[in-house]
């Protein structure tokens, strides 16, 4: 920003400021400070500028004007901070804008964003959503899915499969499915061809010169009369078009592209007539909307729901509502009624109206995306009374309009007495499902249990026929999906092998979960699939999923690969390996190979290092695909190898040995995306190698890396950086090598401003540079980038600072020469001053570097201090805060450099700032003061403690957590190290303030306050502190009382118990419940803290405990029990058994208490006494009630028995009662020798 400032710093490296000028600095800052304090407060009553003290009195002064705002208090110019005159010409106003920065005129014009840019997010696609409208949609899963994930709606539930192991009659067989898939692929291929051709045809209609005449001619002369696909097309062919296309020619193929509907019947064989791939013209798209899988109607066991098929065309385009039958009410409106002499006739007998839409087969969606239509956000009939919130036999429920499509049957009012068993079963399931999906938690729970328990009687078919379509619903929400998936999970267990025919349907529904963005959804999906695999068995899983492996749709193949990986982890990799090997070597289609390799890629991602035992097999499986003819397969293979190596790290190099050559030679041959994959694989394999190999292989790959440094591709850049840092981290790669070959190019290509702008690039560059630095040394790296600290781009400066910070934090600053050191300090000072937004990175960087340089900083400290001073006086609060934070970071270094005087001055300045109004800043200032106190010690502290502490007392009242924490810490430190510098009265005052701290929300603050009580009590003797604390036991607030009790315990611990106990026990005589409880609580903490010391006080407190344990109030007894517990545990083995036994006798009747807190304390106390007096004695109390006739007695006795058994079963053996009976005698114990 300011040319003046930057040049002064840039040219003069780290000038050593003479102390005289620093003193001048101090004077200036001090003056400014006073002015600022005065102006900032506007002479408010609470601040007197002559002393800069805050007037704590709450009374109105008699000598001052009350309204200081209006009348002022005389000492301060009330216009300070204002301009007292108005400029004549307007130019001066410009200066005011940047008055706090520099006052020079800008030479460079200021540009602002255009209106379009500023309003970019107001309209169009990027506009923010209406919150209310969006809320309901946000809950739906479909609304946050990517286009790719939405492809799941294209899949239909496939027909029920035959179970090869059981009932093979029903459903499609494997063969039929494979044939169907073959047809699908063919259809897809032909469709592609036609599309291409159409695109081509339009081209030819248009501009003539675009026509590749040569190619067309070639195509025509080559073919034997048949129309060949024009050669120009090959270039445009997408990867998912079968590659075999050009190879097939002949009569049959020849007619395909121009097949019209008339040719269809005359297909090659009869079978084709009904199932042959139809060429889809736009006119007959409507009835079959299936997408990739054999769609809609034909042979579906589960009728596809209208909402699914019609919904596929997007929101608002479904106008089927207009064509739906009219309701009675509408007809009444339209037609003349009885008033006009008309009459409504009843239904003729035997007529049954068609009812819920659920029965109709997929209706024809009235229109496709084209054409104009009115948006109809809500179906008018779904509003109002037509949507019941209460279902017969279910109760009150939250129902969505979509639910009616599925559960409409429940409200049709049909007579259940006339229904068949199957129908009744269907309704029963329906009712349970709607309860699970929409019900309240208790409803849901019982319904879920019923579904699980009756799963086998309902049967797999009826259950899945209802659950699965629900899961395909477009408006499904997270919660609903979770619940339905849970239902599937539960019934899977029960159904076991009965699920086989439905395996594929379940997979179609569950597979999309595997690519959900929500982690828990993915986990749920995995869980279901692995349970399914265990239930259905490997063979069935393979035969079910095999047809999807070379499916025409990439989405299906992708999800299938992931599902297969889950199957592998569920049933073990070895079981799946032979199949994988076969798939990866498939000659028939490259899609199969691609999917096979993808499965192998997903397995390590899923299982991590558990792949190690099978690494060899997996690598062998995909090894030869590195040389596949298809680029896609090669790329995915490289990625799979990368995943395997990553999971195996640092083991398993021997498994990769066979493919190393292929990998490396492959990397040389590839370009573009393929190369990125290969490089990634190389990057992950190199760290597994031993030094020698690593060295060799890195040198082999390095030239490619160096070449790709200049690649413009973002993805490639990231890969290159990652691989580079992996190589640099390997042992075999030497610093000399890196310096010689890599560093120059690396810095040239990656240390450019542009890299700092993208967050991901930024992180990767920083990380890679640090990794390189670990090898080549800190000096080398810092030397190269230190200049960037003065760059004009702030992001770039930040990137530099972060890199230097990380490097120096790991490697130290020993490597940095004198000249470099100067440049470095100069750079960080510049970067620190030039921040436009105060950033923690800059602060950390500054702190780390100064700490690393340590005493070498001495000469720069004056300059650093002067920077800090100026920034402490800045107008912006964050700047002040950052400056104060910096002081706490470098205080130690200042001490090391012997700059005590400087610190004293800083201390004084900070002290003056204690009037700071921003709590965050005040907290930092207190933190800075604390760190100075810590390093210089109490006695040398400037300002002297006796001045400092009185200023802190009012700050203790501040409610801000950061302020509280830092003050209490500072006060505690003073109380610990130098309590004598303050008189006792002041400490007592602080004690009173501290009581409030006991209410703080943050545990750290309460703990610090308690400890401070201990220090103060030690300093001024416990009597006064204790009196204060005992008084505090009377307050109402529970937390305060508890903390007071803790504080008393701490005081007793620091000042020896005998100083506290008499007063405490005396307090118990106060006839007030809270006080007595407080005393007991204090005793409990006290005995917990003093531990073994308790043995001297046991007999003293026993009468008190006696009294407490027979009190009427149960809380009393409960607290007394916890005292007993701590006493007993303190005196184990110290000869106080008699007292403990006495207390046990008083405790024991309390085991029949029912309140959970009370009974828990009682049991704990008895356990503790058992530890103190021995298991045998206490067990004598227990035997009596174990088999008592009353259950109410037995229950607590068994609880005691169980506790004793768990803790000391072995000790109980000799004490078991002698039992009458032949086998029950334990003769061994009677044996005497």
């Amino acid at each position: 920003m300011s040319d003046g400032m930057s040049s002064s710093h840039a040219e003069a490296p780290a000038k050593k400021v003479p102390n005289a000028s620093l003193t001048a600095d101090f004077e200036t800052i001090k003056r400014l400070q006073q002015e600022r304090n005065a102006a900032g407060k506007k002479g408010s009553k609470t601040f007197d500028p002559s002393t800069q003290r805050t007037n704590n009195s709450t009374k109105a002064s008699l000598t001052e004007a009350f309204d200081t705002e209006l009348y002022g208090n005389g000492a301060v110019d009330k216009y300070a901070g204002y301009n007292t005159s108005i400029a004549v010409n307007d130019d001066d106003d410009q200066d005011m804008d940047d008055a706090d920065g520099d006052d020079g005129r800008r030479l460079v014009g200021q540009y602002t964003a255009t209106k379009e840019q500023m309003n970019e997010y107001a309209h169009g696609d990027t506009a923010e959503e209406d919150i209310l409208l969006g809320r309901e949609k946000q809950a739906q899963i479909a609304s946050r899915e990517s286009d790719y994930q939405k492809k799941r709606f294209n899949r239909a539930l496939s027909p029920t499969r035959a179970d090869a192991f059981g009932d093979a009659k029903n459903g499609q067989s494997f063969k039929e499915i494979m044939q169907a898939r073959e047809l699908d692929r063919e259809e897809e291929r032909v469709r592609k061809l036609i599309e291409d051709k159409q695109a081509k045809g339009e081209d030819m209609d248009g501009v003539e010169e675009h026509k590749p005449t040569l190619a067309i001619e070639d195509g025509q002369t080559n073919g034997d009369g048949a129309v060949q696909p024009p050669a120009g097309r090959q270039r445009k062919r997408r990867w998912d078009v079968s590659s075999e296309t050009p190879a097939t020619n002949g009569a049959a193929d020849g007619e395909k592209p121009k097949r019209s509907r008339w040719d269809e019947a005359a297909g090659p064989d009869g079978a084709a007539a009904d199932s042959a791939p139809k060429k889809r013209s736009r006119w007959d798209l409507a009835p079959s909307l299936g997408g990739a899988t054999p769609a809609a109607g034909a042979g579906l066991a589960t009728p596809m729901h209208p909402s699914q098929s019609s919904g596929a065309f997007g929101f608002g385009t479904d106008i089927s509502g207009r064509n739906a039958p009219l309701s009675d009410e509408e007809l009444d409106e339209m037609l003349p009624g009885e008033a006009e002499g008309y009459k409504i006739l009843p239904f003729p007998p035997g007529y049954e109206p068609t009812r819920a839409p659920a029965h109709r087969v997929a209706q024809t969606p009235a229109s496709l995306a084209g054409g104009f239509m009115m948006q109809q956000p809500v179906d008018p009939r779904s509003m109002g009374k037509d949507l019941p919130s209460e279902l017969p036999g279910v109760g009150e429920l939250r129902l969505k309009p979509e639910d009616m499509a599925y559960f409409g049957k429940l409200v049709d009012g049909a007579d259940e007495n006339e229904m068949s068993v199957d129908e009744l079963k269907e309704r029963k399931i329906m009712r349970l499902l709607i309860k699970v999906k929409n019900g309240t938690p208790p409803m849901r729970k019982t319904a879920l249990r019923q579904l699980t328990d009756n799963a086998r009687t309902f049967g797999a078919g009826p259950l899945f026929d209802q659950i699965l379509p629900l899961l395909m619903e477009k408006t499904l929400e997270d919660q609903e999906r979770h619940l339905l998936v849970k239902v599937i999970d539960r019934i899977l267990y029960k159904l076991d092998d009965l699920v086989r025919p439905y395996t594929h349907k379940i997979l179609v529904v569950i597979e999309p979960l595997l690519i959900d963005q929500d982690y828990y959804a993915r986990v749920e999906g995995r869980e279901i699939i692995s349970n399914l695999a265990k239930a259905a068995g490997l063979a069935h899983m393979i035969s079910t999923m095999r047809p999807d492996i070379d499916h025409a749709d990439e989405y299906v193949r992708n999800t299938t690969a992931r599902a297969f990986a889950v199957v592998a982890s569920a049933l073990g990799i070895p079981a799946l390996l032979p199949f994988l090997r076969a798939v990866c070597r498939s000659k028939k289609s490259w899609q199969a190979r691609h999917t096979g390799v993808k499965i192998v890629q997903q397995i390590p991602i899923l299982m991590g290092c558990a792949v190690l035992p099978h690494l060899k097999g997996l690598v062998d499986c995909i090894g030869q695909n590195l040389n596949d003819e298809q680029t896609k397969v090669r790329t995915v293979t490289a990625l799979a190898i990368a995943a395997l190596a990553e999971a195996a790290s640092p083991y398993g190099i021997e498994s990769f040995e066979d493919i190393l050559n292929n990998l490396w030679s492959g990397a040389r041959k590839q370009r573009g995306k393929g190369l990125a994959g290969f490089l990634k694989a190389v990057g992950y394999v190199v760290p597994l190698m031993d030094e020698e190999f690593a060295n060799y292989y890195v040198s082999q790959i390095m030239e490619i890396l160096l070449r790709e440094f200049s690649s413009p591709d973002e993805e490639m850049k990231k890969v290159v950086l990652k691989v580079l840092s992996q190589c640099a981290n390997t042992n075999g790669v030497t610093a000399g090598y890196l310096k010689e070959t890599v560093l120059d190019d690396f810095f040239k290509s990656f240390w450019v401003r542009r890299m700092a702008l993208d967050k991901r690039n930024y992180m990767q560059v920083v990380e890679t540079t640090c990794d390189l630095g670990r090898k080549v040394g800190c000096g080398e790296i810092v030397e190269r980038i230190v200049g960037n600290l003065k760059d004009e781009s702030e992001a770039y400066r930040k990137m530099t600072m972060e890199t230097i910070e990380k490097t120096i934090a790991t490697l130290g600053a020993a490597d940095i020469g004198e000249r470099l050191e100067e440049r470095l300090v100069d750079g960080i000072l510049f970067a620190f001053q030039e921040q436009s937004v105060e950033d923690i990175i800059m602060l950390n960087g500054f702190g780390t570097i100064v700490n690393a340089l340590d005493t070498r900083c001495k000469i720069y400290l004056p300059q650093i201090c002067s920077t800090i001073l100026w920034r402490l006086n800045n107008k912006s609060a964050t700047v002040r805060q950052q400056a104060a934070d910096l002081i706490s970071r470098i205080a130690v270094v200042m001490k090391h450099c012997g700059e005590d005087a400087l610190m004293g001055k800083l201390g004084v300045v900070l002290y003056e700032y204690l009037g700071e109004e921003y709590p965050e800043v005040l907290g930092s200032i207190l933190g800075a003061l604390r760190s100075i106190v810590t390093v210089v010690g109490i006695n040398q502290m400037q300002p002297p403690i006796k001045d400092l502490l009185p200023r802190l007392t009012p700050i203790l009242r501040n409610r801000h957590e950061k302020v509280q924490e830092n003050t209490i810490d500072l006060v505690g430190r003073i109380a610990d190290r130098g309590p004598e510098s303050i008189n006792a009265r002041e400490w007592m005052r602080i004690c009173f303030e501290l009581l409030d701290m006991l209410k703080a929300h943050k545990k750290g603050i309460r703990r610090a306050a308690n400890n401070t009580f201990g220090f103060i009590a030690k300093a001024i003797g416990p009597q006064d502190v204790l009196a204060t604390l005992l008084n505090n036991l009377r307050v109402q607030e529970r937390q305060s009382r508890v903390c007071t009790a803790v504080a008393i315990g701490i005081v007793a611990e620091t000042c020896a118990p005998f100083t506290v106990l008499p007063a405490l026990m005396n307090e118990y005589r106060v006839p007030e419940l809270n006080v007595q409880n407080g005393v007991l609580k204090s005793l409990s903490f006290l005995f917990e803290y003093i531990g073994e010391m308790a043995k001297d006080y046991v007999y003293a407190v026993t009468p008190l405990l006696e009294d407490a344990l027979i009190d009427r109030d149960q809380v009393h007894r409960q607290t007394a029990a916890s005292v007993v517990k701590h006493v007993a545990l303190g005196v184990v083995g110290l000869g106080c058994e008699d007292a403990m036994l006495h207390l046990l006798n008083l405790l024991y009747p309390n085991i029949f208490e029912t309140s959970p807190h009370v009974i828990d304390r009682m049991i704990e106390a008895i356990d503790a006494v058992r530890v103190a007096v021995g298991t045998g004695v206490v067990m004598n109390y227990v035997w009596a009630g174990l088999f008592h006739p009353a259950r109410k007695v037995r229950v607590p006795y068994w609880r005691l028995y169980n506790d004793a058994y768990v803790q000391s079963a072995d000790a109980m053996v000799p004490y078991y009662p002698d039992l009458e009976g032949d086998m029950l005698k334990r003769d061994e114990l009677m044996a005497f020798f």
């Binding site: 037995r1194 169980n1202 058994y1205 079963a1209 078991y1216 086998m1223 029950l1224």
Partner: protein, 85 residues
Amino acid sequence: MADKLRTTQQLEALQNKYIGTGHADTTKFEWTSNIARDSYASYVGHPPLLQYMSLALGDASREETRVRCIEGMVRPVGPPPEVQD
């Protein structure tokens, strides 16, 4: 109600972990079997005690006593009582 549920769950968890623990419906047979088994386990687990017993009982070796203890753990108090109804 929920509290009751939690206690039963805790008890179940406890009994899964420690077979010897009991509850209000533990029978004499279960309890005495556990006592006997725990006693045998304890003898076996303290070799000096086992040595002493083998001497006092006149066994040939400590091993013999040990084996007898371990075998004694099978149905230590005889067969389970007949189930009524």
